[in-house]
């Protein structure tokens, strides 16, 4: 049994296990155990990957397995990982386990909730290990659809509206994506021969430039919708505001990364020439969205909206870095995905916990919470500091790598775009400190808040897991950055053939 397929199988087995249970307590336990095993498998995978590399294996993808699925269309179930996907898998398993613990208190339809949540995560894992465009797309849909149920059933506020909006916009993205993927498929054998969905095989040939020009924007925007590409990001504030805690965590933490990951693994990697031609359009869009999201966050009143806009800003940075098309910036993009995944999951977890206590998410109704819930308060401050790029936490490493990578371009266009993006660090500081100052510090505004209780054991597990990961990357980024950077080489080499700048 291939270790990669285990990653998809374990969540499915966990779901099967939950189906036989009636008791909510047992459901939680089984989910936690299943995802705990998943975390261990991910850790083993990281370890196996590193030792394999150490042993001198220089293949682009490791642990590759391929099973025939639809012979007539050349669809295979092909899996394999490089350093980037290994890192993303590690991120996902951490966020998922934190999400499970953060939703310990879901009372309504507990079984169904955990089933959807785990189904979603299996889609995400499947996406990251797929090397076949068709299976990749399949897993992408598996990850997106449960989101509708999770928000629509367990959400809050105008949940039906938000769920509908989110799903429709993402489906719109998938529609573009499907066209893009089929476009790649039908152009995968320009010299005649068998068409292919396999990413590695397609990367060896050059798709005709006319086809690239047409299909690159479709694919990029298709993934970009999920990656909160301006102006297709508006599902994010509403969606996050209505989603239950764990769903926000998974969505912002992991699902939005599918967009960034796909954008570069499929759109950029397979169609480098068109990417090079059209990068400028998207660089403008993303550098605008970096600043725009940050400004948008400043005046929001709802904690989740602040975070949603902050995600727009940070995810904009991911796409921005990908478009810079050099090793440093793209490594930074992956680091930013991981870093943002962890800290935004942490944020949403905390917001959920605070909301569970104060029953409001409006910041001006709260104040002085640090005094009554010091644990959550301190963790919130840590998350905020990570978000504004404090050294020693993961955000700094990622942002700096991106800025330096982007600055490697010497022409004025790229440099000005970079400076615009860099200026977001100040604006980020403004909105983070505004929230921290209003929410946690100052006098206690409401007498009811005097009796709030600090974090319970499962909330502590959930947040500490994430904090440790954020700090670990921030303190010792070297191995992670190197692992990603090395895997970036084949991709960058392919891009360089298109643009030897």
């Amino acid at each position: 049994m291939n270790i990669l397929s285990l990653l998809v199988l374990i969540p499915l087995l966990t779901i099967a296990g939950i189906l036989f249970l009636k008791d909510t307590q047992k459901t939680r336990l089984v989910s936690a155990i299943g995802m705990g095993i998943q975390l261990i498998v991910a850790a083993v995978l990281v370890f196996m990957y590193l030792s394999e590399r150490k042993a001198g294996n220089t293949d682009e993808m490791l642990f590759v397995r391929s099973y025939e699925w639809f012979k007539s269309l050349n669809i295979y179930y092909t899996v394999g990982v490089d350093g980037i996907s290994v890192a993303m898998i590690a991120l996902t398993s951490i966020v998922v386990i934190a999400g499970i613990f953060a939703s310990w208190q879901v009372e309504n339809l507990t079984r169904e909730f955990f089933i959807s949540l785990i189904l979603l995560s299996s889609g995400v894992f499947g996406f990251f290990i797929s090397l076949d465009l068709f299976t990749m797309f399949l897993f992408y849909e598996v990850a997106v659809i449960p989101m509708y149920l999770l928000i629509g059933i367990w959400g809050s506020g105008p949940k039906e509206y938000s769920a509908m909006k989110l799903t429709l916009m993402l489906m719109g993205g998938s529609a573009l994506l499907l066209v893009g993927i089929l476009g790649i498929y039908f152009n995968s054998a320009p010299g005649g021969g068998e068409l292919s969905f396999n990413i590695l095989e397609i990367s060896k040939i050059q798709i005709p430039i006319e086809a690239q020009r047409f299909f690159f924007p479709l694919t990029f925007v298709g993934f970009g919708v999920l990656g909160a590409l301006f102006p297709f990001h508006t599902w994010s504030p509403d969606g996050h505001a209505s989603a239950p805690t764990a769903v926000s965590m998974l969505h912002a933490g992991v699902l939005m990364k599918l967009g960034g990951y796909g954008a570069f693994r499929v759109a950029m990697f397979l169609m480098p020439e068109a990417a090079d031609e059209m990068a400028w359009i998207f660089i403008i869009l993303t550098s605008v969205s970096v600043v725009y999201g940050a400004f948008g966050a400043i005046v929001q009143k709802d904690l989740k909206y602040i975070n949603a806009y902050s995600s727009v800003s940070h995810c904009g940075l991911v796409l921005f870095a990908i478009l810079m098309m050099n090793k440093t910036a793209m490594t930074g993009a992956i680091l930013q995905m991981i870093s943002h995944g962890l800290m935004t999951a942490l944020f949403f977890a905390l917001i959920g916990m605070i909301y569970g206590r104060t029953h409001t998410r409006l910041i001006h109704e709260m104040g002085g919470l640090m005094k009554v819930i010091p644990f959550l308060g301190v963790v919130y401050v840590i998350a905020g500091l990570a978000s504004l790029g404090l050294p020693g936490l993961s955000g700094f490493v990622a942002e700096m790598t991106i800025f330096f990578g982007a600055f490697e371009h010497t022409d004025p266009f790229h440099r000005i775009a970079t400076l615009v993006a860099v200026s977001s660090i100040v604006i980020t500081a403004v909105y983070i400190l505004r929230v921290v100052g209003t929410l946690l510090l100052g006098p206690i505004k409401n007498d009811h808040f005097n009796h709030l209780e600090d974090a319970t054991w499962f909330e502590r597990i959930s947040t500490i897991t994430l904090v440790v990961a954020v700090a670990a990357i921030g303190v010792a980024p070297y191995w992670l950055s190197t692992m990603i950077g090395d895997s970036m080489l084949p991709i960058v080499n392919k891009l360089l053939t298109a643009n030897p700048f």
């Binding site: 400004f295 050294p391 700094f396 330096f404 490697e408 100040v426 100052g442």
Partner: protein
């Protein structure tokens, strides 16, 4: 004879460990114990730093007559590309060793002092955890062997400053002040970061030893393309200076410093007087070879901003009544003076007098300003007020504080033989030889400094007899011992032969006092003191009359030239009202509106065409039959 400085790694690591220990387990420890732990940790650092200084200056062989730059530790932390990587290292050279002494001394004194000052406060262990964090970051900053490491620790000192200013987090003013400090310095750091980006891509390295090598290739490649008449190198250094100006509270980025006085007084002494705020000076000094060789224009900027800030702050200091604010503006003024020292300096030998004097002044300033703040803390501790209008005649109640405070005031006024006389005089000499205008400004500042310090002194210790609710009493020994120690340093540190230790190129030169300039500066200091004495020693109506004479000027200075209002306007009005709110509106209504619009359009379209589904059987039949007929017609008549 050994050059093994490997143990130097412990110097920043001990406070880090203390921070982790106190931060994670602090609330399990007894408050007293955690304070003691922090203090002992810093005590070890203090000893190690003095040992390092001794070993570096006196027991290490010089190379070609110059102090060598020793890299005690180095490792790659993060790799960007093959040539650019961030290292974590420890660089020992004259200025970093000097800063080690300054930081460890002041920090250790503040640790001891706080045992008394903060006694019984809620969050005592948190206070010590933050102090340790600050000490760690500050030590890491000065020991940095590359500019990026410096930036990392630069940010960390920023955040520890933020945490300490906001220590009393339930006071809204403290929260606002900490926020302001962080955001203003963050804005400055943006400049610093841009500067680093430009600098590193011009020179291809972060490493100070390559960057600052006067013969090195890095500097030579600097004179690149020009932009707005200045070379890229100049721009990058101006941006770097912007970072320094933010941390060092230079005009116009100074507005956070007076508000930062909301923090506990020992914090003000440590961070906002002695160590963190001079980081900007240290930064310019660290990059001094780059400045002087590839971008002398940037140094002119440094000098003028320094000079303007120093007189600007001195004028404001004359009108404030909150003693900590007076000291804050005084700090800003003195740092301006240090910047001037750097700005008017040349390179090599006696030419580098300004540089040496600036570092010298940094050293003496740290001692006497820490002393002033700690003294102010003792006073505030005794009378529970920050305002000198509520004080007077305290010399009877606080004898030790009184004497040490007087020493500090005499020092800052530049009266011989106190230490600042030597350092300030040398800056003035360097300014005189370089730029007469700057000299004139600094000369006036010297007089103003003496005036406002003694205004403070007389108002607190002499002046009117004030009735106190509780009889003020002298602070406990843990607080007075640091005062005495620092007073001792303030008096005698002027005799340290700095020109033999800290110079631009590491080669010692012979310093001497230029009495033709020293005497006039002593004179103006005395004039300032005498005016202050006349106005404030006894309670008179003279100060009010003077204030009334310069009514408008006084009002402007009292309101700090309305800089806060300008900033409030920029942030509240421009950023909040004219950028963010429209952006948020735009996003909700235009961007999201168009998405909703698409869905509404689809909806409306469906609404229209649903009429087809009328439920009327015969309508369907009619459509069906007409369709069939139409098709038949088409097939029969048109297809042939």
């Amino acid at each position: 004879m050994t050059t093994d400085f490997g143990y130097a790694l412990l110097i920043p690591l001990i406070p880090l460990l203390m921070f982790l220990l106190l931060g994670l387990a602090g609330n399990q420890l007894k408050a007293r114990l955690s304070g003691l732990l922090g203090t002992i940790g810093l005590g070890v650092v203090f000893v190690l730093s003095y040992y390092t200084a001794y070993k570096y200056f006196f027991a290490t062989e010089k190379i070609a007559g110059a102090f060598s730059k020793i890299t005690a530790f180095d490792m790659v932390w993060l790799r960007f590309s093959d040539s650019l990587h961030i290292n974590m290292g420890i660089l020992l050279d004259p200025i970093s060793v000097m800063m080690l002494v300054v930081i460890s001394t002041v920090s250790f004194m503040v640790h001891i002092y706080s045992l008394g000052y903060m006694k019984g406060e809620v969050g005592f262990e948190r206070f010590y955890a933050f102090l340790s964090l600050f000490s760690f970051s500050m030590l890491g900053l000065v020991l940095a062997n590359n500019i990026f490491q410096m930036y990392i620790f630069w940010e960390l000192v920023g955040v520890s400053s933020f945490l300490l200013i906001g220590f009393y987090y339930q006071r809204p003013t403290a929260v606002l002040a900490s926020k302001k400090a962080f955001i203003v310095t963050r804005f400055a750091d943006l400049g610093f970061l841009i500067g680093i980006l430009l600098l590193s891509f011009n020179t291809g390295t972060f490493d100070f030893s390559i960057l600052c090598d006067p013969q090195g290739a890095a500097i030579a490649t600097g004179s690149g393309a020009a932009f707005l008449g200045l070379s890229v190198m100049t721009w990058s250094l101006i941006f770097v200076f912007m970072g320094g100006a933010g941390k060092s509270a230079m005009f116009p980025l100074h507005i956070w410093l007076p508000d930062a006085m909301e923090g506990p007084t020992p914090v003000s002494a440590l961070i906002h007087a002695a160590t963190m705020v001079v980081a900007g000076v240290y930064l310019v000094a660290r990059l001094f070879p780059v400045y002087i060789i590839s971008a002398p224009d940037a140094l002119v900027v440094v000098a003028y901003i320094g000079a303007f800030s120093s007189i600007f702050a001195a004028v404001i200091a004359c009108t404030q009544t909150d003693i900590k604010r007076v000291l804050a503006y005084s700090t800003m003024s003195q740092i301006g003076l240090m910047m001037v020292g750097l700005g008017v300096s040349g390179y090599g030998g006696h030419e580098g007098l300004g540089y040496m004097a600036s570092m010298f002044h940094l050293f003496t300033h740290a001692m006497f300003k820490a002393l002033l703040f700690l003294g102010a803390g003792a006073i505030i501790h005794a009378v529970h007020s920050n305002h000198m209008t509520e004080m007077g005649g305290l010399r009877k109640y606080l004898p030790i504080t009184h004497i040490t405070f007087l020493i500090a005031c005499l020092t800052i006024a530049g009266i011989p033989p106190f230490s600042a006389f030597f350092s300030k005089d040398e800056i003035l000499v360097a300014a005189w030889h370089h730029d007469k205008l700057i000299f004139a400004v600094e000369y006036i500042v010297a007089g103003l400094t003496a005036f406002y310090m003694f205004r403070l002194y007389f108002n607190i210790f002499w002046g009117k007899e004030t009735h106190y609710h509780h009889t003020p009493h002298e602070a406990p020994a843990v607080m007075t011992i640091p005062l005495i120690f620092l007073a001792f340093l303030s008096v005698f540190s002027g005799f340290i032969p700095f020109s033999k230790l800290v110079t631009t190129d590491g080669i010692p030169f012979e310093g001497h006092i230029d009495w033709s300039l020293a005497l006039p500066s002593v004179f103006i200091g005395l004039v300032g003191i005498i005016i202050a004495m006349v106005m404030y020693k006894k309670e008179t109506s003279l100060p009010d009359k003077v204030a009334a004479t310069f009514k408008h000027g006084y009002k402007w200075a009292f309101n700090k030239f309305y800089m806060d209002e300008v900033y409030m306007f920029v942030t509240k009005k421009i950023i909040f009202a004219y950028i963010s709110t429209p952006v948020a509106w735009f996003d909700r209504h235009i961007v999201d509106g168009s998405m909703n619009g698409i869905s509404r359009l689809t909806n409306a379209f469906s609404f229209r065409i649903r009429e087809f589904q009328s439920g009327q059987l015969q309508k369907y039949g009619f459509v069906f039959i007409s369709g069939v007929l139409l098709l038949t017609f088409l097939m029969v008549y048109l297809w042939n």
